[in-house]
């Protein structure tokens, strides 16, 4: 859910840039929220109510109107206690882990944040915010919750999670209590594949793939689904019978090995080369072919399967950017 922020929140955001605000640098998970790092500022509603209470207090004092004074002090005391309650709501929560499946640059990362809580306290009305993406949730007593937030990936390589804000408006909406979370988790972003399908480098390999597909109507081997497998590989009917997700693995002969060589793509722009190799890795994996990837300083495969694909994509993702470290053209 997209969130809009009021002036007080924006002030809090600016405050976060100060060196004094905790946490001062990214920290290793799990992180337990302690009272030192919970901040609280009144909301617009809180300021409005304070102004009203001030007016009522002045009036009640002036007329020495005791019921009115009692009313003012009672509401003020409830308001004060709500600030303490908001503080207590946050402290004791733990961010256990931050996870996300790798995506290609430009795609949306689905950030999964696992929270749990300490103590016998119901923690409801929590909001986790990242940039302008917000997710609302409750934490039951001694319960766990996995919040997910969409995160835009911009470029290949390691992406920092950045600053997350865990906040609440409870109990009366008079103030927002929040704390910043800066997990040091790095998220891997694969390079974006070239949008057009490009034939594999060896003309024959294209035919091989074709043949494999024809032969591969019956899979030679079924194995359990692993994260990262393409939905196209899932053997749906068999999975339904087996009551778990199964994935077809195609038999491909050694003859169908393809080599994707960085140096064969001389003349193509640096980043474009990475994109093309990414496309090829994806296509080859999809086709069930065995493939090898050769990039400067690294040779992967020949092999196939999700692990190999991940290794290839990771290697491509982590290639130094062209500007910082010019590579020799082969």
């Amino acid at each position: 859910m997209a969130a809009t922020r009021d002036a007080v929140e924006r002030f809090g955001d600016r405050m976060a840039a100060l060196a004094l605000v905790r946490p001062k640098k990214p920290e290793a998970l799990p992180v337990r929220i302690t009272r030192h790092r919970v901040y609280i500022l009144p909301t617009g509603f809180g300021l409005f109510l304070s102004a009203i209470l001030a007016v009522l207090l002045l009036g009640a004092l002036n007329y020495n109107n005791n019921p009115a004074l009692l009313l003012v002090f009672l509401v003020a005391a409830v308001a004060h206690n709500s600030l303490v309650q908001a503080h207590l709501l946050l402290s004791g929560i733990q961010l256990k882990s931050v996870q996300a499946d790798p995506v290609h640059a430009g795609q949306t990362i689905n950030l999964r944040l696992l929270f749990d809580a300490q103590g016998q306290r119901l923690r409801d009305g929590l909001e986790i915010l990242h940039d302008d993406q917000q997710h609302d949730f409750d934490l039951a007593v001694a319960g766990e919750y996995e919040a997910s937030l969409p995160l835009t990936s911009t470029r290949r390589g390691w992406q920092e999670v950045g600053r997350l804000r865990l906040s609440t408006l409870r109990t009366l909406g008079l103030a927002r209590a929040w704390c910043w979370l800066r997990p040091d988790t790095q998220l891997l972003v694969y390079p974006a594949p070239e949008s057009e399908h490009v034939p594999f480098p060896e003309a024959s390999s294209g035919d091989d793939v074709q043949r494999t597909r024809q032969h591969g109507e019956q899979p030679h081997h079924l194995r359990d689904y692993r994260t990262g497998d393409s939905p196209r590989q899932i053997a749906w009917k068999t999975s339904a019978r087996a009551d778990r997700l199964l994935v077809r693995e195609y038999e491909a002969s050694a003859a169908h090995e393809i080599e994707f060589d960085w140096y064969q793509l001389a003349g193509v722009d640096y980043e474009a080369r990475i994109r093309r190799l990414t496309r090829w890795v994806l296509d080859a994996e999809c086709a069930g072919a065995r493939y090898a990837l050769k990039i400067p300083g690294e040779q992967l495969g020949p092999d196939r399967g999700p692990e190999h694909r991940h290794a290839c994509l990771r290697a491509l993702a982590l290639m130094p950017s062209s500007s910082t470290e010019p590579l020799p053209h082969g």
């Binding site: 004074l69 009313l71 509401v75 609302d136």
Partner: protein, 651 residues
């Protein structure tokens, strides 16, 4: 966040606003009540914003109606009614979260306005649910509130807990927050003048005085106190009567005091006078010397050079019995006998006739008072009088209040050749038992007569006090249609006799609490009259203690699980911990059970079964039947650790 409120949440906010407006409905006319309820219902059911023009029209219409109902008299009542009208109209345009929050904020003004008018028990009782609803609505506004109405009972329970938790802090603030000894501004809608009696007495002004419940002064006696019936607080003396209005001459206050000497008991007192915007200082009848900073005039009233614009405090001595050592000066005698020409012929004739039949002045006075006792009635809703006002009162209406009685009595005296004058001031007062001082209110304003008797001097006669108790038709309280506070005053003590000690306790502790009482709050620790810094220190300490109580409660506050098994498990763990087998925070229930089984070999089976069943219920996929759950809960509750035998052997 969604711009439009969930309908249930909107309805909850409207209900909260109406709950705040409700006490006010008891204070407006039936037409306005109907109108307000109609607006509230419209606000409750309206789902989309009305067109701006229609809203404007409606606002003008309702505002106009309120003004017409109050005869365009801008005052406290009108302002309160307008406020409630606008609050209810606001419900019609409450559609976003922001609107709802401002509605809730403004709603707090409604109970405040109610308390300005009436601090009675009903209003106080009604305002508690109003505040609770406001807090519930604010709480609901922090969420989406799709089922705000369904959750309401649960929410109100947690609001009640919040209110209970807020009490220590609220009370500390209430009793210790420095009060204003002097108001910063006057009551809205009351007369522009201060709360003192004027230089004139005419029936219309006095009706206002009799319903004004502002404090005029507080007085503490040092040593003996006079009886309340004897407490006449002297103000301006009115000599001149034009047939309608009694008045005095500005210059009177510069005349010099007569030569008097006290006879019998004297009373010393300290008086704290609220700003009256007048130059006179009320003194107990009769003053033995002028209070500091003032001088006594020939008519024994104390005048200051400047009007009283701030709280003033002075000490004075009174002697109810005084001997006038010199004769009445001729000019005064002349003034004290002057009557308006061509007025009240019947009264004058009767006076002359009765005086002729009486042996002396005293006998004549007695005869007139007997007549008052027999034939006259006290009523503050007296019918208007004609041109011959005294004739009209004595022979036709025979119903009135102090103004009528004193005026007619003085005319009767003057007509019979007895020098007489009207004295205005205050009578009686309300004894503040805890503070040990008397409070006098504007409505304690009174008028009585003084006559000159040869050999005795000026003698106070209060014809109003002569009215027989059974002839008291209506009083201030019955006219106001509500129970006033502190109405226990004065020379009319039988009128306002309340024996409700409960209410008085509330009055004393809460309603009657003010700057003066606050200053004596620190008496138990040996500070008789606290300075401001001492009060602030006390506030700091008191608030600190209250805060500590609140925080301790908040930190201890356990989430009360409604689930019986969960609760039973929690108690089980606590019990085991007390027996020395605490559960580690990160320890799973199953492991904990196994560890317990090892350390308590006597109960191994039981412990294993309990923890297994609990884990099964807590984390198992299959639903356990209600009966099984009940048994699990009761087994957990009943389990008591048995000490291992070797401990017993050691004993």
């Amino acid at each position: 966040m969604a711009d439009l409120l969930a309908p249930a949440l909107r309805k909850l906010c409207v209900i909260a606003a109406f709950a705040c407006a409700l006490p006010m409905l008891f204070q407006v006319s039936v037409l306005l009540v109907a109108c307000f309820i109609a607006i509230a219902i419209a606000g409750f059911i309206s789902n989309r914003p009305l067109p701006a023009l229609l809203r404007l029209l409606l606002t003008l219409l309702v505002g106009g109606l309120v003004m017409v109902q109050y005869d365009f008299d801008i005052g406290r009542d009108t302002a309160s009614a307008v406020l409630v009208a606008m609050l209810l109209l606001k419900t019609l345009e409450t559609h976003s979260r922001r609107d709802a929050r401002s509605l809730i904020g403004f709603s707090l003004f409604a109970p405040f306005a109610t308390f300005l008018q009436d601090q009675g028990p009903l209003m106080l009782t009604l305002s508690i649910p109003a505040v609770a609803m406001i807090l519930a609505a604010a709480n609901a506004l922090t969420g989406q509130g799709n089922n705000a109405l369904v959750n309401l009972p649960q929410r109100l329970r947690s609001v009640a807990a919040m209110l209970a938790l807020a009490l220590p802090l609220a009370l500390a603030g209430f009793w210790l927050f420095p009060r204003l000894g002097t108001p910063l501004w006057g009551l809205p809608g009351k007369s522009q003048q201060g709360n003192g009696l004027g230089d004139r007495m005419n029936p219309n002004d006095w009706i206002d005085i009799l319903v004004d419940d502002r404090t005029v002064f507080r007085v503490r006696f040092i040593g003996r106190e006079p009886a309340r019936e004897q407490m006449y607080w002297r103000g301006p003396v009115l000599w001149d009567f034009d047939g309608e209005i009694w008045s005095r001459n500005e210059l009177d206050q510069y005349s010099s005091a007569p030569d008097v000497s006290a006879q019998g008991a004297t009373f010393r007192y300290q008086l704290m006078l609220e700003p009256t915007e007048r130059q006179y200082l009320p003194t107990l009848d009769l003053p033995l010397g002028a209070p500091a900073g003032s001088r006594l005039s020939a008519e024994m009233t104390a005048y200051r050079r400047e009007p009283v614009q701030n709280l003033v405090s002075y000490e004075a001595v009174a002697a109810p019995l005084m001997k006038f050592n010199s004769a009445l000066p001729a000019t005064q005698r002349q003034r004290a006998l002057r009557l308006p020409p061509n007025r009240n012929p019947r009264s004058l004739a009767l006076a002359r006739e009765w005086r002729a039949e009486s042996a002396n002045d005293s006998a004549y006075v007695e005869r007139v008072l007997d007549w008052v006792r027999a034939d006259f009635k006290y009523s503050i809703s007296a019918p208007p009088l004609g041109r011959d006002s005294v004739d009209d009162f004595l022979f036709n209406t025979r119903e009135g209040f102090c103004q009528h009685f004193s005026s007619s009595f003085v005319v009767m005296m003057r007509a019979a050749g007895v020098p007489a004058r009207v004295v205005t001031g205050y009578a009686g007062g309300y004894k503040n038992l805890y503070g040990g001082y008397w409070s006098l209110y504007v409505r304690d304003g009174h008028a009585w007569a003084e006559i000159w008797l040869e050999g005795r001097g000026w003698v106070r006669v209060d014809p109003t006090a002569a009215v027989a108790p059974e002839n008291i038709l209506d009083t201030l309280t019955s006219v106001q249609g509500q129970e006033g506070l502190f109405v226990e005053g004065g020379g009319l003590s039988t009128l306002f006799d309340f024996n409700d000690s409960l209410k008085r306790g509330w009055n004393e502790f809460v309603l009657g609490f003010d700057a003066l009482r606050q200053q004596s709050l620190l008496k138990p620790v040996g500070i008789d009259s606290a300075e401001r810094w001492q009060l602030l220190l006390a506030l700091g300490i008191g608030a600190g203690i209250a805060l500590a109580i609140t925080l301790a409660t908040l930190l201890r506050q356990q989430m009360t699980t409604r689930d019986p098994v969960e609760r039973a498990w929690h108690r089980f763990v606590t019990r085991m911990a007390r027996a020395g087998h605490g559960k580690r925070v990160d320890e799973p229930a199953q492991t904990y059970g196994e560890r317990l089984a090892l350390s308590l070999p006597e109960q191994t089976e039981q412990l294993l079964s309990l923890s297994r069943r609990y884990v099964q219920w807590r984390y198992g996929a299959n639903q356990t039947g209600a009966e099984t759950l009940g048994r699990l809960a009761s087994d957990l509750e009943q389990f008591r650790p048995v000490r291992p035998r070797r401990h017993q052997e050691k004993k």
